[in-house]
């Protein structure tokens, strides 16, 4: 309240009395003007203040099912909490980050364009380091305890970086491979067998061009698997820390592997798809016979959308696959922080989580621990896990944690250096 009053006051007088404002700014710099008036521990007050706020949610807009789900969420937040939720559909999440940095550079500390952002670990790490995020707030949400973060530490880890309450989980993902069971009987289940299989079936596999998210994910998966084969060192410690000067040595087997398989990729690796979606349509058109996605229910939802054949099956590599949790964060210049928190809390409610998981076209993987759903909901979720194309829960239990985000940067940089310039 005080904050918004000072803000209006500030803006109104700005034109008339600039020098006076400069003085005001100096003398009040440590008081209300620059301090956040949001008390995250007082949830009733937050809910009250959130009413009537307009929340701009910056999230990737390339999935019609997700867009439809978010517009349902927006209708609900409006009728239940009086919050106007606006989904800003981004072609690329990093553009929201760019904007945030630009606003910060221009001294915009209270009128940011985003209230809630769906971040990935790489961007989260960059923004948290630059002190551009509001928090900690996430663990103060009433619904946060439903994720059971003590039992599932990944709910507090974004790409190996501790979230420290600056991010709230809302969906989870895992790398899965999929194939058309009418064309391929026994798909490769390790990196090594992928190489052998490719040699016998040239042109039947490819991956999105890093830094496209899914392409980089495959690089990390292969790197961890190849490293685990080559050394007996502690893999978890190695990858949970930033890469050091041993990066060249550690990553050497990966580049040797890629050099070997590239001639056998689709289009002989002279062109890579831009996204997982293009990979999916390549599989559907039988250009390739093995593809992968970073969403455990990709195949189920794609079959229901008619984008994959009903004979498509998915699986996880023998030694497990990369998995992570998707988080939302609030920029520290967000004008509607209370509204953003209320929305994040709503996204964590069993009702929304269940709805997102059982929406056939979306089939999002819930972040709540299973027993926090009602028995009826649990029954439906179990039934869905047996749908054709779904990955079994036992397979999904084979998870590999995301390496530290610096690995992502290094891998992308090195990939671009080696292959990005063409031949």
């Amino acid at each position: 309240m005080g904050n918004s009053f000072t803000r209006t006051f500030f803006e109104k007088t700005r034109l008339i009395a600039r020098p006076a404002i400069a003085w005001l700014l100096v003398s009040f710099s440590n008081s209300a003007l620059c301090q956040s008036s949001v008390d995250v521990d007082n949830w009733p007050q937050i809910s009250a203040e959130a009413r009537g706020q307009r929340v701009y949610f910056h999230a990737w807009g390339g999935d019609t099912a997700l867009n439809a789900h978010l517009s349902w969420v927006a209708a609900e937040t409006m009728s239940r909490f009086g919050i106007e939720l606006i989904h800003v559909k981004l072609a690329d999440t990093s553009s929201a980050v760019t904007r945030l940095i630009a606003e910060h550079d221009a001294g915009n500390t209270e009128r940011g364009s985003a209230d809630l952002i769906w971040l990935n670990g790489e961007n989260f790490s960059a923004l948290k380091r630059a002190n551009l995020l509001f928090g900690p707030w996430a663990e103060a949400q009433p619904n946060f305890e439903l994720v059971d973060a003590d039992r599932f530490p990944e709910m507090r880890q974004d790409f190996g970086v501790r979230t420290d309450g600056y991010e709230s989980p809302w969906t989870r993902s895992q790398l899965i491979f999929y194939y058309d069971s009418e064309r391929l009987i026994e798909p490769p289940r390790t990196a090594q067998s992928l190489r052998t299989w490719l040699r016998e079936n040239p042109g039947e596999f490819t991956y999105p061009r890093p830094p496209a998210f899914l392409g980089t994910t495959l690089l990390k998966q292969l790197l961890i698997e190849l490293t685990a084969e080559a050394t007996s060192a502690d893999i978890e410690t190695l990858f949970s820390n930033p890469p050091n000067e041993s990066f060249d040595a550690v990553s050497a087997p990966l580049w040797a592997f890629l050099d070997e398989i590239h001639p056998y990729l689709l289009r002989e690796a002279r062109h890579f798809p831009q996204s997982g979606a293009q990979l999916r349509s390549a599989l559907n058109d039988r250009e390739i016979s093995l593809a992968f996605a970073f969403s455990p229910n990709e195949v189920v939802s794609s079959i229901s959308r008619g984008e994959l054949a009903p004979s498509t099956r998915s699986y996880v590599f023998e030694s497990g696959t990369l998995s992570n949790v998707s988080f939302v964060a609030i920029p520290n210049n967000a004008p509607s922080k209370q509204g953003a928190m209320a929305v994040a809390n709503f996204l964590l409610s069993p009702e929304v989580q269940f709805k997102a998981a059982t929406n056939a076209k979306l089939a999002s993987e819930p972040v709540l621990s299973f027993e926090n759903f009602t028995p009826d909901q649990q029954a439906v979720l179990l039934e869905n896990a047996r749908a054709p194309g779904a990955v079994s829960p036992t397979e999904l239990a084979r998870k590999i944690q995301e390496p530290h985000p610096s690995w992502t940067n290094e891998l992308e940089r090195e990939w671009l250096r080696r292959y990005g310039g063409g031949r």
């Binding site: 061009r209 002279r270 062109h271 039988r286």
Partner: protein
């Protein structure tokens, strides 16, 4: 120069200058805000400190940057060349026959289709899983799609083709508009008395007179082709992508050093676009000289040689442009198929199941984007028309020269969009202008203004001033002359200018996205965001939705004058 002209110079020039400077400035930064400097791409950085900003070192050491720049340069040169050759050959071969009128009518809707939609249409036709390949597969009995690379090939043939398909209709319409002032039939008749065949005669006598009149629009084509983002993303190479695509990738990257890299790349982009212009100017000279030599040699004596030359050029001219138009229209048909297709696996020619799910999904979320798109287009076009009329009227009253202004108006089209729009966004941010529909409309204004002004200018030039004189002798004031004589007589040009402006505004992506901060969704921004869905049906639906409004505008531009003047003769 009248006050109105000066005002217009300032109005257009200041944001251009400020925008460009702000966009390019970070390239010269030496240190990151936290005081440290780390070279993003060069691990063993041993560059001489102080002389050249590090961003440029980073840029130069980026793998494949030379290839990227070269691709952009080549696209910038080959696209206008291909468009110009096909249009000139077509005009030469058909002269003023019925065919040229028919093709011009076909070209107008193609012009209205946004670049991205046309690029998708082409990809949908020619990709290994595209319609063309499916046709062959059905005839030849293929089960699996062939593994060839055409779309996205490093040689950029598909990129140039895709751009030329869209630019040739533009060049054609510009050329057709300028053609009457060249007295083409008389030139051709004269050349034919010297023994030339009709096609050769047109190329030798009309082309040199027509070319200077369409030069500036061609320059705009050069700059656009060398800096396009959306078409290059869809059809261009990916290893490495064109310079413009990499520039945008760097611009949206979260790391601050990448933004400095983006600024350095923007400077390189400016250099590449200007180089393309420079090389084009050089070729202009060379070709002019060659023309002079050929023309001076006279018509060949033996009739057989005349006919052989003619026999090659005439059919090529007759077919090249029509084929390209047919290709686009076939692509649009493929988009239509995709938008109502359910399962459509290779190698079936038609979808195996039909579904309206893509349309119902699109139509459930189209109101706001549609409203925004129309509001922005109307605002920017109204502003452009009012300002153009004020300037033109002031010029007409003072009889001041206008040549420098029309050249100047091309500036927003000659500076790559990515360069100055990002600068304007920074400027808006610094002056604390919140991203809004109005700000987007202001951004659109810069791109709409040149076309509106130039269309209206030709209307002013064409209007017989004796009408106004007559009105004045009857006691009409200047104001009355303007409202009761000039405006009604120019209504055809006004409608054309408005519709052209609306079409351009409706298809702008980058200014909308960057200035609106994603908060002002339009049909175009929604379409491009959904491109990443990769679903053929979704892309087809949105590409069609995106094309629908501009096409409607074009049809109105053709129809409205006919309705207005249905009871008058000789007004069209």
């Amino acid at each position: 120069m009248t006050w109105a002209t000066r005002f217009l110079f300032l109005l257009l020039g200041a944001p251009l200058l400020v925008g460009s400077v702000l966009a390019l400035a970070p390239a010269f930064a030496y240190y990151m805000p936290d005081g440290s400097f780390n070279d993003p791409l060069n691990h063993s950085s041993n560059h001489p400190a102080g002389l050249i900003p590090p961003a440029f070192f980073a840029l130069v050491s980026t793998p494949g940057i030379a290839t990227s720049a070269m691709t952009s340069l080549l696209a910038g040169l080959l696209t206008p060349a291909l468009s110009l050759v096909s249009v000139f050959l077509f005009l030469a071969a058909t002269q003023t026959g019925r065919a040229s009128k028919l093709i011009a009518q076909l070209a107008a809707p193609v012009l209205a289709i946004p670049h991205a939609a046309a690029a998708f249409a082409l990809a949908l036709l020619l990709a290994p899983t595209g319609v063309a390949s499916r046709l062959v597969a059905t005839l030849a009995g293929w089960e699996l799609p062939p593994d060839y690379l055409f779309i996205n090939h490093p040689n950029s043939v598909a990129l140039v083709l895709g751009l030329a398909l869209k630019e040739a209709p533009f060049v054609l319409l510009v050329a057709l508009a300028a053609l009457p002032s060249t007295a083409a039939p008389r030139r051709v008749a004269l050349a034919r008395t010297l023994g030339y065949g009709p096609t050769t005669a047109w190329l030798l006598t009309v082309a040199p007179a027509l070319y200077p009149l369409i030069r500036l629009p061609l320059f705009a084509v050069i700059v656009f082709a060398s800096s396009t983002v959306d078409v290059a993303l869809i059809l261009g190479p990916s290893l490495p992508p064109t310079l413009s695509v990499r520039l945008v990738e760097w611009f949206v990257a979260p790391e601050i050093e990448q933004r400095q890299l983006a600024s350095a790349a923007a400077l390189l982009q400016l250099f590449i676009s200007l180089s393309a212009l420079g090389i084009w100017l050089l070729f202009e000279r060379l070709i002019a000289r060659a023309y002079a030599t050929i023309a001076a040699r006279g018509a060949p004596r033996e009739a057989s040689r005349v006919s052989r030359f003619e026999a090659v050029l005439t059919p090529v001219g007759n077919t090249l442009l029509p084929i390209s138009l047919v290709l686009v229209l076939m692509g649009i048909a493929a988009l239509c198929l995709a938008s109502v297709g359910g399962q459509w696996r290779y190698p079936t020619i038609l979808p195996t199941t039909w579904s309206l799910q893509h349309w119902s999904a699109a139509l459930s979320s189209w109101q706001t984007p549609l409203f925004n798109a129309i509001a922005i287009a109307l605002l920017s076009v109204t502003a452009a028309i009012v300002l153009s009329l004020v300037t033109l009227e002031a010029q007409a009253r003072s009889r001041a020269g206008t040549a420098s202004l029309s050249t100047f108006l091309y500036l927003p089209l000659l500076i790559p969009q990515v360069v100055f729009i990002s600068g304007i966004a920074v400027f808006a941010e610094r002056t604390r202008l919140p991203p809004s529909l109005l700000l987007v409309a202001v951004g659109h204004f810069f791109f709409v203004m040149p076309y509106v002004y130039l269309t209206l200018q030709s209307g002013y030039a064409r209007l017989d001033s004796r009408w106004l004189l007559l009105a004045k002798t009857l006691g009409a004031s200047r104001t009355v002359c303007f409202w009761r004589v000039r405006i009604p007589l120019m209504s055809t040009q006004l409608i054309t200018a408005a519709m052209l402006g609306l079409t351009i505004s409706l298809s702008l992506y980058l200014p909308t996205q960057i200035l609106g901060a994603g908060r002002v969704p339009t049909i175009t921004t929604e379409a491009i965001a959904l491109v990443s869905s990769g679903s053929r049906g979704t892309i087809g639906t949105w590409a069609l939705l995106q094309s629908a409004l501009p096409t409607l505008c074009f049809m109105l531009a053709l129809l409205l004058p006919r309705l207005i003047w249905s009871k008058r003769k000789g007004m069209l």
